[in-house]
Symmetry: C2
Subunit: 352 residues, 2 copies
């Protein structure tokens, strides 16, 4: 497919001048255009780029009833020369189809994905602001649109890409609680997928945590609650002494792009990394001994998110301030690649 | 709230004459009207009944991204005097709010629910056909509509009720497979709720089962796969000798209205009922000895669904035909109450 095969409906007027790019709530403002492609009669139809606006669905559309929907999160960055870059978009493309397969959604074609994304970002280049921390958040997603409520995979879908200008995702000091009762996902379930329903399931436990003064939950394994897994919108890293530890991927834990980039950078910078099960007990023990130096989350929206305290079993632990933190190190390494400041030895940058 | 407080927009013309009530696929045809009530500014707004038709949502509506949505399933029945009945609707009302709480969705007011439902069914009484097996399937549901993709509970929702004329839900002989790899829900998760995401998560494993010739999966516990739980759209009963056995409710298993009605009817008809964990091993052992007489599912859509065979660990077991089956007994008892044929000693019928 050529980009010329995408049918483009122009906007009447851009709304960009009405947006305060210095005061952006995450994911609340969207750009002028959106990408849309429908699946019907057994195949993905001609893709369209058109003015951002409401979509019309039958109330029986399967996404409303059975949560048959998956998504991705990506960002576009601009360097000082006004060049635009994505970060490892091939990973997001592979993952959305891996998620789709688990939710019985048909795979989206690679050329549609990349040509649609490229064309859309070229149209919306003014929405990507320079400066570290500024980006255009990219949300590809697929929803089941077939108007019929039998509990089985739909035969009609809509793939969309919408764009939202972003600053930093989290602000303030982040305290977390290790989950002892609620769970995010089961063995043999859909936790590894960016399936819509995984997220709503976390809202209520997270609200309870918020009320106690914790911004996030670190999810533990559902069977025993003894092992630390991920934070729902972030993978989690622990620094014990000078060793970095993170849980292995499995069918409960998202295979994070930022996570795997951190692991790669660590290895190439002589930081010991252990990818293995991390027990609650060992982290509490390390904290008591003063060996636990850092906990941080990784994810596309947040990049690297340092955690200042954690709680488990009614005990609170503050993490010491680090002069030379791993969190800062990885954040600087990642953003330097993302914003075309440093070399890119890995070939992770993708120029639009 | 009085029913007169519901704003009704009349249809131009009914589509009822275009519907073949003798050839209905489940959940594919909808009646003339729908009920709609929006939550915003911290409260549920004035409810509306209007012509059934598409709804318009921003592409960033939270339901599309995070599956923040719950639903219920109910049926309206008509007797020979053209009176209309619901079956234990108070249970559905309580459960949709229990589901909503777990998904961090605001509770829907009881008077809105019952007045809306009553008014809607009175308008649509011609869509309810007489005769055992015929019904009007009722689908209340709530979706998060706030146009912003931060991963947190929405502040705007839409509650709707749509209606679909129904015959029997399942047809043909149902063979099932006991799950050995995939899971439906985790301890501490949302399995007990009618949360949208619970259903899409089952589509792929069910598709694999279908390809092997099994219509449904009986889900086992995610931690060990040793205990039988539910079938995703049905609770499950086993008859070993003359004893009826079903799994207890927990945070993984839906608290089915038909399930609890079956248990009550069994007790009142001197059928031994054991509500306890049911192991795969004991059911296979009972089948080998000839003691396993029946397996059947229970649910609003299916009522009682007899199962003719099951598979586990590569072994297939056919169930013997029963002259006087429990499945037929419970189905007859339930439908006699539902269609106002028998007495209703429990007060389960609710006249519209």
């Amino acid at each position: 497919m050529n980009t010329s095969d995408i049918q483009i409906t122009p906007i009447q007027q851009s709304k960009i001048n009405s947006v305060d790019f210095n005061n952006l709530a995450f994911g609340a403002v969207f750009s002028d255009y959106m990408f849309e492609c429908d699946f019907k009669d057994g195949s993905w139809q001609k893709p369209k780029i058109k003015p951002y606006g409401p979509i019309s669905l039958d109330p029986s559309a399967r996404v409303f009833h059975y949560g048959q929907a998956v998504f991705e999160g990506m960002k576009a960055y601009k360097d000082d020369n006004d060049d635009i870059f994505l970060f490892r978009p091939d990973e997001n493309f592979k993952r959305i189809n891996k998620s789709a397969e688990r939710l019985a959604i048909p795979a989206f074609p690679e050329d549609y994905f990349f040509n649609g994304l490229t064309q859309l970002l070229k149209l919306e280049k003014d929405w990507i602001k320079k400066g570290l921390g500024n980006s255009l958040y990219i949300r590809p997603f697929v929803i089941a649109t077939q108007p019929a409520i039998s509990a089985s995979p739909a035969n009609e879908y809509k793939f969309m890409i919408i764009l939202s200008p972003a600053q930093a995702y989290y602000s303030g000091e982040v305290k977390v609680i290790f989950s002892e009762k609620y769970s995010r996902s089961a063995d043999g379930g859909v936790g590894f997928a960016k399936a819509a329903g995984n997220y709503a399931a976390q809202f209520y436990p997270t609200k309870l945590a918020n009320e106690k003064g914790y911004q996030q939950i670190i999810w533990t394994d559902a069977s025993t609650h003894n092992y630390l897994e991920e934070a729902g919108t972030m993978n989690i890293f622990f620094r014990v002494g000078d060793t970095l530890i993170t849980a292995p991927n499995n069918d409960r834990i998202l295979d994070g792009v930022t996570r795997k980039s951190v692991i790669q950078i660590a290895k190439d910078n002589n930081i010991d990394v252990e990818v293995r099960r991390v027990s609650v007990a060992e982290i509490k023990e390390a904290a008591r001994k003063g060996a636990l130096k850092e906990i941080f989350g990784s994810g596309t929206a947040t990049v690297i998110n340092p955690i200042v305290a954690f709680s488990h079993g009614g005990e609170d632990f503050d993490l010491p301030k680090q002069e030379k933190s791993y969190a800062s190190f990885f954040k600087e390494k990642l953003t330097s690649i993302q914003y075309n400041i440093s070399e890119d030895p890995y070939g992770w940058r993708f120029k639009i």
